[in-house]
């Protein structure tokens, strides 16, 4: 037995792996994910096959709706807004652009009117031909020139309508996405620190682009086509009320078809999109983790994983395909059928003298003109629906409640004190049990303890990221949670291991905390303090060199120095360093000791330490065990106490 064996810490609950026997599966390879009965079987009589297909279609519907439900109520992600919220949001966006809207509607109606005049003129000509009008030959040139003139006007009006549409759509879209990013930048700190960013990334990429397609295309198209369809109906009626009936019947048929389709399409397309992002994330893991797969011999497993993803995706594709097919079955009749009815009604009407041949011609031309816009209208609704779903997710970001209410209190000094701190991630499960801690300004305090003891949580309370359930953390007498965020940043900062370099200039990357006030000299001083000025000045454009993804690449050490320089500029009097996630990554840290120590000099430092030498160097050490501070004192005092810390230290140095 070695010395370290005695280090099993009391207070650390002995884990028994609850339900291990119940949840372990002996055949993990049987995870098929797709119900075998969904696999198409091309045998049996037509009726049987149809019944089987309907059963499969229903199963696929359930699967799609389950995906939709999951997306609408994300388990761990951000909230989703209601449809009412989206409409209200759209109303405010549209209301501020009233003049554009009016111009858009006016021009689109004028263009539609122009488009309807031409067939009327042609219909008139046909009537005069059949009527044997002798003056026709002489007036034909004039009539045709007039018609050509109308066509010209229609062309110009169409151009203007489309142009205004584009301007309007792009304007709407850019406002919406900028608003989304502003909301993201207002997310409460505690939320940003605890929740992963995966959900947010999906929202700012996939959902924004779905919203884009709706705003850029669907919304303006909708405005123009609705007008066009309505006016065409009016024109049809003016041409001949009798010959309008076929169109109305066709539209009624279309209405019911499309309504059924739209009712199910959303879930279908959401599930389809979801299946492709699963394919994509599995593939991303396989490609980026190709070395791990190679090392562990997982090539077949990973290929299998992708095959399974594809199976799921194929089912969603089959579902939306069937939905569209069901719609097409009646949609083509709704589009083409009226023409047939025009033949029948036209024959009866012409015989009875109710309609002229010209009116029949006009009705046929109008019908043909109507198919395009109606088709567009259906697609528009389809896309608008998907865009709507995405917008609910985007507006949901704004529904995260703010976590701090500025109290107006001002810190008297830089003395940080925690009193009776309790905190629970889940209700009823406190991870801290009334911790008291009084930091001496300028001291270096190391917190050590086993994983799960609550030391990271303590660090986050001390940095003002989360508010304690009971008690409070104060700086100079003012509660940290009562300080506005930009004020808090000047008091205390949590130092994390962010390799992240933003897309922007080096200066942009450094001035963060004082983005409006920091001078160029201060940036240089901060860079010099972390030994980074030399390489920055060697760069082609110095501190205005663009860095970040797609620009000049920084090495991990340079990225770390940039991160340190950010803190120098922020200049908080207290730093909380969590070693698990902090800059002291053993790989890089050894190169950065000098940069680091110049940052720490003159500040109060709370180091959540994994490495014992960090603890040894500290003025005081707090040993946190099971949510309490078990030992507190200098290295020598704790060695004399001969408790947990002393045992660990001896194992470390012997």
């Amino acid at each position: 037995m070695t010395a370290t064996d005695n280090l099993v810490i009391e207070g650390l609950a002995v884990t028994t792996l609850v339900d291990s026997a119940e949840t372990w599966l002996d055949h993990t390879g049987d995870d098929t994910r797709v119900d075998p009965s969904l696999d198409t079987d091309h045998r049996g009589a037509a009726v049987e096959r149809l019944t089987a297909w309907r059963a499969r279609h229903r199963m696929r519907r359930q699967l799609a709706e389950a995906v939709l439900a999951r997306q609408r109520n994300p388990e761990r992600g951000l909230p989703v807004a209601s449809n009412e919220r989206v409409f209200a949001f759209l109303r405010t966006l549209v209301a501020s652009r009233r003049r554009t809207i009016i111009a858009l509607i006016t021009f689109s109606l004028l263009a539609a009117v122009a488009g309807l005049i031409v067939p009327r003129i042609l219909g008139g000509v046909v009537d005069r031909v059949t009527g044997g009008d002798p003056t026709l030959a002489s007036s034909l040139n004039g009539i045709c020139l007039a018609a050509a003139g109308v066509v010209l006007v229609q062309g110009v009006l169409t151009y203007l309508t489309r142009l205004i549409t584009t301007v309007f759509g792009q304007d709407l879209l850019s406002s919406a996405r900028e608003e989304v990013v502003r909301t993201v930048l207002r997310l409460p700190l505690s939320r940003v620190e605890t929740a992963g960013t995966g959900d947010l990334v999906t929202r700012v990429t996939r959902d924004v682009s779905a919203m884009a397609s709706a705003a850029q295309w669907a919304l303006p198209q909708f405005v123009t086509t609705v007008g066009l369809v309505g006016l065409t109906l009016v024109a049809l009626f003016l041409n001949s009320p009798l010959l309008t009936i076929p169109t109305l019947l066709g539209m009624a048929l279309l209405f019911f078809t499309v309504r059924t389709y739209l009712k199910h399409a959303l879930a279908g397309y959401i599930a389809e999109g979801d299946s492709y992002s699963t394919i994509n994330s599995t593939l991303t893991e396989s490609v980026e983790g190709a070395r791990t797969a190679e090392a562990l011999g997982l090539q077949r497993q990973r290929a299998r994983q992708t095959d399974l993803d594809v199976e799921v995706s194929a089912q969603t594709e089959r579902y939306t395909m069937s939905l569209r097919n069901l719609m097409f079955l009646t949609m083509d009749y709704a589009f083409q059928g009226p023409l047939i009815l025009v033949v029948v009604l036209g024959a009866v009407g012409y015989t009875q003298g109710w309609v002229t041949l010209g009116q029949v011609t006009v009705a046929a031309l109008y019908l043909q003109q109507l198919i395009g816009p109606m088709d567009v209208l259906v697609q528009t609704l389809d896309r608008a629906q998907v865009g709507m779903a995405s917008t609910t997710r985007l507006l949901g970001i704004a529904e995260v409640p703010q976590d701090r209410t500025p109290s107006g209190e001002e810190p008297r000094d830089s003395h940080l004190v925690g009193r009776d701190l309790r905190f629970a991630y889940r209700e009823g499960h406190d991870v801290l049990h009334g911790v008291d801690l009084d930091l001496v300004p300028g001291e270096r305090l190391a917190i050590v303890g086993p994983s799960g003891s609550g030391k990271s949580t303590l660090g986050r309370l001390l940095a003002g990221i989360n508010g304690p359930r009971t008690g409070e953390v104060t700086v100079g007498g003012a509660s940290l949670m009562g300080l506005p965020l930009d004020r808090l940043r000047t008091e205390v900062a949590l130092v994390t291991q962010e390799h992240h370099v933003f897309v922007g200039t080096i200066r942009d990357n450094i001035v963060l905390a004082r983005e409006t006030t920091a001078t160029e000299d201060e940036v240089r001083e901060a860079l010099a303090a972390v030994d980074a000025l030399e390489w920055v000045e060697r760069m082609p454009l110095g501190i205005t060199t663009k860095v970040g993804s797609g620009n000049t690449r920084l090495t991990p050490a340079q990225a770390q120095q940039v991160a340190l320089a950010r803190l120098v500029i922020a200049d908080p009097h207290t730093l909380v360093l969590d070693e698990a996630t902090s800059l002291i990554d053993p790989q890089t840290a050894r190169h950065l000791e000098g940069s680091m120590s110049s940052l720490l000099t003159g500040r109060t430092v709370v180091a959540i330490a994994h490495r014992l030498h960090t603890a040894h160097d500290a003025d005081r050490i707090a040993v946190v065990i099971d949510g309490n501070i078990a030992e507190l004192g200098s290295h020598d005092e704790l060695m004399a106490l001969d408790g947990e810390y002393a045992k660990l230290w001896r194992a470390w140095t012997s």
Binding site: D19, V208, G297, V511, R566
Partner: protein, 657 residues
């Protein structure tokens, strides 16, 4: 007919049918023709020729049925309505109904086939890319940026779908055009000629606008993807932005770029509006021209009213097949571009030669590395301490036969502004660069490696066999999404007791407790939501459960606190007793349990012994271990040496739960 999803068997990785299916699985590799983009595209389309034929056929019938409707309407007017002949009109109405019904049938059938063809294209590309990447392992990311590999599966797969769809539609369009030509020339040669000439002109008239439109669209797309990049960037760095500040700077940057995108979008939209307006204008003018000519014909008695009405229909109808042809040309070019990018990825291969004269890897071998003079005794726990962590990581790669090197992978994206010859030259340079990289790998992989097992050079072992028996777990080890059980026992070979033991040794029981659902609890991709230490301990448990004869681990406990690390060290030594284990670390808690410690300075082993001995006799060693950082002359001398080699410690990235 091949239905979807397709079963892909390629690069030695077979297809897995999840369900019992009447379709037989392929038994041999499919071999994409990667000699040129065109050959690849043809090979790709050839793989689904049955779908192509069927959808071309249904598109011909669908186009045909709609092409005949205007003619029928004209006949109905002439012989039915115009003659006040109700039965004749009803007869024509019946024929029209039949034509519409045939159209509906082939529309639905064709749509089904087209969807099948489209998604088969996507799924095939995904299957091929995934298998190519997996079969090449760590070599592919060295050569091609992973983003470009993924964009083939994400974007180009869809382009192949679009290419094959438009190909079949083009076939239908051509046949419809010929059909209508025959019809109209038969009715009235004069008007027929006008229609036939006008339709292509109508489409062609837009051509001058199309180039600026394309350019504007490209600009919009580029700017828009930059914008998405900025949003992702903001989210990725949100902890910093909210923790330290900078919301205004980056919020403003985003707004500025968003306005750039808006302007580009408006510009593209303006060109598009011109194209649309032109189509309206020319279509209308054609209609007027036909009326003018047609009425004169009718007055001269050469044409009936019904025929004139039919011509109105054709004039509108013919735009469609012509437009389809035009679309085909565009999409075919895009298909070739996509094929070019795909061929870059699929055209590569792993550098290892399948040796015929392989030697069996000896059991319990003494492992020696020439470059560093490192030596590990069989069955022992050897710990490598290095003043520079890069050196020990490189040693681990050599022992495990992984290619290392600091070259950046070759991106095939060229500057958007390069055109014509300059673009061609840039592309050729990239291709040459990639070829050079591949050749260097090949050369390195096939000469003696410089690491021996019982005196036999590593290059003489069968690589697959070698990987099975020697496992290197490096700092970039990926955590794949799945259940906890799949994560720690991905091959499904362990018993529950072994898995529990592995969790215990790695002190990862808390992760088990954290994830609801026990062994079936879900772990997100890359272990998102777990802390760095938790991820590291899961990776450790997985490596231990794989139970390789030789286990090499790089900094396996760097993100774990001292208490837990002490526990892991003891249990690890116990669990690996009697099996060769090599660990690189500077933590004394691990060094304590080592059978032998090897001390490396500047990539060369300078001392060896027990931790206790070295602590007593080697001041240099003592300083590296105790302080890790201070008094380290090497680190001070080259503070920024070779950072490109630094593996990103995936275990140390964010996400605290």
């Amino acid at each position: 007919m091949e239905t979807f999803p397709p079963r892909i068997h390629a690069y030695g990785l077979p297809s897995v049918a999840a369900n019992p299916t009447p379709r037989p699985l392929p038994t041999a590799d499919e071999r994409p023709d990667v000699r040129s983009p065109l050959r690849f595209l043809l090979w790709f389309l050839g793989r689904q020729w049955k779908i192509l034929v069927l959808s071309a056929l249904s598109s011909v019938l669908w186009f045909g049925s709609s092409a005949i409707t205007p003619w029928m309407f004209g006949r109905a007017v002439d012989t039915g309505i115009g003659q006040r002949d109700l039965p004749a009109a009803l007869g024509w109405a019946g024929w029209m109904l039949l034509a519409v019904s045939i159209g509906v049938f082939f529309g639905v059938f064709g749509h089904t086939i087209v969807v099948a063809g489209w998604v088969v294209s996507i799924y095939r590309t995904v299957g091929l890319i995934s298998r190519r990447a997996l079969s090449m392992g760590h070599v592919l990311p060295r050569r091609t940026p992973t983003g470009e590999v993924l964009s083939v599966a994400g974007g180009d797969a869809d382009t192949f779908g679009a290419t094959q769809e438009v190909l079949t539609r083009a076939i239908g369009a051509v046949s419809a055009f010929i059909f209508v030509t025959v019809l109209v020339l038969g009715e009235s040669p004069k008007l027929g000629l006008v229609v036939l000439v006008a339709a292509p002109l109508l489409v062609g008239a837009a051509a001058p606008f199309l180039r600026p439109l394309q350019a504007a669209r490209t600009k919009e797309r580029t700017r828009s993807s930059e914008l998405t990049g900025m949003a992702t960037d903001i989210v990725a760095g949100l902890r910093i932005l909210r923790g330290i500040g900078g919301e205004k700077t980056f919020g403003d940057n985003y707004v500025r770029q968003s306005q750039h995108v808006r302007r580009a979008g408006v510009e593209a939209g303006a060109w598009q509006s011109a194209v649309d307006a032109l189509a309206t204008l020319l279509g209308g003018l054609l209609l007027v021209l036909l009326t003018w000519l047609g009425v004169r014909e009718v007055l001269a008695g050469a044409l009936s009213v019904g025929q004139l009405i039919s011509f109105f229909g054709y004039a509108v109808y013919l735009v469609w097949p012509v437009y389809t042809m035009y679309e085909f040309v565009q999409k075919w070019v895009q298909g070739l571009v996509a094929a070019k990018k795909t061929v870059v990825v699929l055209g590569q291969s792993a550098p290892w030669k399948a040796g015929t004269d392989t030697v069996e890897l000896p059991r319990d071998a003494v492992i020696k590395d020439e470059q560093s003079t490192f030596l590990a005794q069989p069955g022992q726990l050897t710990v490598v301490v290095s003043s520079l962590p890069d050196d020990s990581a490189a040693l681990a790669d050599r022992i495990g036969r992984y290619l290392t090197g600091s070259e950046d992978p070759v991106s095939h994206e060229i500057d958007e502004n390069l055109k014509g010859r300059a673009a061609k030259r840039a592309r050729a340079e990239k291709a040459a660069e990639l070829a050079a990289l591949a050749q260097a790998d090949e050369e390195r992989a096939n000469r003696p490696w410089g690491v021996t097992y019982d005196g036999i050079d590593v290059s003489r072992f069968d690589l697959a066999e070698f990987r099975r028996r020697v496992l290197v777990s490096d700092t970039s080890a990926m955590i794949f999404a799945g259940t906890l059980q799949q994560l720690v026992d991905p091959l499904g070979r362990a018993t529950r007791e072994q898995a529990e033991e592995a969790l215990r040794v790695a002190s990862a029981e808390d992760v088990y407790d954290l994830v609801p659902g026990g062994w079936q609890g879900r772990i997100d991709e890359r272990g998102r939501g777990l802390s760095g230490g938790q991820r590291q301990r899961l990776v450790l448990a997985r490596a231990l459960l794989a139970d390789p004869e030789v286990l090499v681990m790089v900094e396996p406990t760097s993100a774990v606190d001292a208490h837990t690390e002490a526990r892991i060290a003891t249990r690890l030594a116990e669990a690996r007793r009697g099996r060769t284990t090599i660990i690189t670390t500077v933590s004394p808690l691990v060094l304590h349990v080592a059978d032998e410690v090897v001390f490396m300075v500047d990539g060369v082993c300078v001392e060896r012994g027990t931790h206790h001995d070295l602590m007593q006799h080697s001041p240099a060693y003592r300083s590296v271990v105790e302080r890790g950082i201070d008094d380290d002359p090497a680190a001070i001398e080259h503070p920024l040496r070779d950072h490109a080699l630094l593996p990103t410690p995936s275990g140390a990235v964010q996400d605290h739960s």
